[in-house]
């Protein structure tokens, strides 16, 4: 169904206000709406009520707080709050640090559940004329290359690049498939693509039920992709004191936010102009079929721009009904 963006925001906020403050509900709903508007509904309002990692399923131990600060870094203690709330707090902090000192590094620990679309953070940081690098560690999914035990999360590594006229956003999971996509395939009776997952005997499988008991492969099914997944496990898991390979579960999910001012090396205007030049050179470079080369992140931005133009977004009808029911229950 189509729904007005203002209406969806109101609904999302109303639901969130059950458990979270006005300030927190604003932070969370903006990340969720970004997911919906960008066509990444897997990171949208579905995260509100559904599943054990949903925002409403959580029992935070208090408000997230900044600890262990230096001039260039901060650690955010998530205290069991959703990643999608801890994320915006870390993002705002890393922007502040990098604006003041040229560089910021912010780690988060003890968050629970996904931080939502990393593109949200990347774009916000890059719009502040800062280079963004964001990584997220999550419960074990990927088996190491040559192994068959899930030891790394889906572990995205992602970049936001200030550029004219719009930031360049590149966000990639190091896993070949998301855990949620396997659950969905099982529920809908679908097969998985080839070479994305293994069963618990270590054999490649397209059966989602067997894959869920087994593990996923790295995006390239090679030591390179696995090595990158391992680096994210270390930098966004071990480093901020979060979980890593299931060895520190009470450390929760972890994130790493880094921001750098281009001015450290060349002027920001020169940087943005050259980034634009590179993007246009790639887009217009020769192709076999004569078409344009696709630039990372652009489809997402296009979808969002279209929604913002019409003021409406396509969402799952059942999800909206569920949220309305939830809000009504609360009122009674």
């Amino acid at each position: 169904m189509k729904i007005k963006i203002t209406e969806l925001r109101k609904l999302t906020k109303s639901a969130l206000l059950k458990k979270y403050s006005e300030f927190q509900a604003n932070l969370i709903s903006e990340v969720m709406l970004f997911g919906e508007l960008s066509g990444k509904s897997s990171h949208g309002i579905v995260r509100l009520l559904i599943g054990k990692y949903s925002v409403m399923a959580q029992e935070p131990k208090g408000k997230p707080s900044l600890t262990k600060k230096t001039k260039v870094s901060s650690l955010v203690e998530g205290k069991g709050n959703p990643g999608i709330l801890v994320g915006p707090i870390a993002m705002n902090e890393v922007i502040r640090l990098a604006k003041e000192n040229g560089i910021g590094v912010v780690g988060t620990r003890d968050n629970f559940g996904s931080s939502g679309c990393l593109s949200y953070y990347l774009e916000r940081i890059a719009k502040e004329n800062l280079i963004a690098v964001v990584m997220a560690q999550s419960p074990v999914s990927i088996a190491p290359y040559g192994g068959m035990e899930p030891l790394f999360g889906t572990n995205p590594i992602s970049f936001g690049i200030p550029a004219n006229p719009k930031p360049l956003i590149f966000d990639m999971a190091t896993s070949a498939i998301a855990f949620g996509a396997m659950v969905r395939a099982r529920e809908l009776g679908l097969k998985l693509p080839e070479n994305v997952a293994i069963d618990k005997e270590g054999n490649v499988t397209t059966d989602p039920a067997r894959a869920i008991e087994g593990g996923t492969l790295a995006f390239d099914n090679s030591y390179k992709g696995c090595g990158l997944a391992m680096m994210v496990e270390i930098l966004a898991g071990i480093w901020p004191g979060a979980d890593y390979a299931g060895l520190n579960i009470k450390g929760g999910w972890g994130n790493l936010f880094m921001a750098f001012s281009p001015d450290l090396l060349i002027g920001v205007d020169e940087f943005k102009k050259k980034a634009e030049q590179l993007i246009e050179t790639i887009r217009n470079s020769k192709t076999k079929n004569g078409g344009k080369v696709r630039i990372p992140g652009e489809n997402t931005i296009k979808k969002r721009d279209e929604c913002l133009k019409t003021g409406e977004v396509e969402v799952d009808e059942k999800l909206v009904a569920q949220i309305k029911e939830f809000i009504k229950d609360e009122k009674e």
Copy 2:
């Protein structure tokens, strides 16, 4: 042939002293020897005399110098010096910055030719109890995903992680094959592996001659690997003011060195202990054949340790003869 390491160092330095100072010759020869001892002879003494990017083929415009300094960053002007000389200077600077302020970012521009084994820098930085991230930009090789024009270098992205008892080193090119490997295949009449390169019509080819006229593919032949290659082109090319996609050739080759103290987020001892625990968990995790899982970088370290134990290394006889001839010529 086997040669004593002390003898190889002496020969390498003698050759370098023709053009470089004692200080510079020491820096360069250590990176070259690291390559030879690590079994990566493609980044060893072959870089001394052979080819247009060799250390001796270059005509530097002066000594590399540090410019544009902040408390957390420096830019190294390479002035046409070899990457393998500019690299150690940048490495020493990034270590100094990160020891003083917890973080260091050092870009290099206008270096010429490869920086040698990135593992050398990663290991040295990690042994200082600092997390290392090093990227290197080089002349165009990889075609963007969906395109057929080479626009990105072989563009490695690499990580050095402080760990007990030894640092963890993960160094990966984003290209599926090195340019040098294609040249070698052509000279030896060998075919390339499948799916590593394209001809100038954009068709996948195993013919090295056609591939050299065409371009290489990203390591995974997907938008993810290409996206990573593009990020390296931006962060190690555009950011320090080096070349990018052949659009700024006079900016030379570029590098980006980053170092972070684990202490910013958790204590360095805790970090190293947990990294060790992760490595051992991966190594001993279940495999289909009951063997151990291979850890990135360990084969390289093992080879080097064996050389250091015997004091000898296996090198190409013709190369050694060539270096000896070169030194003799100089003396006359």
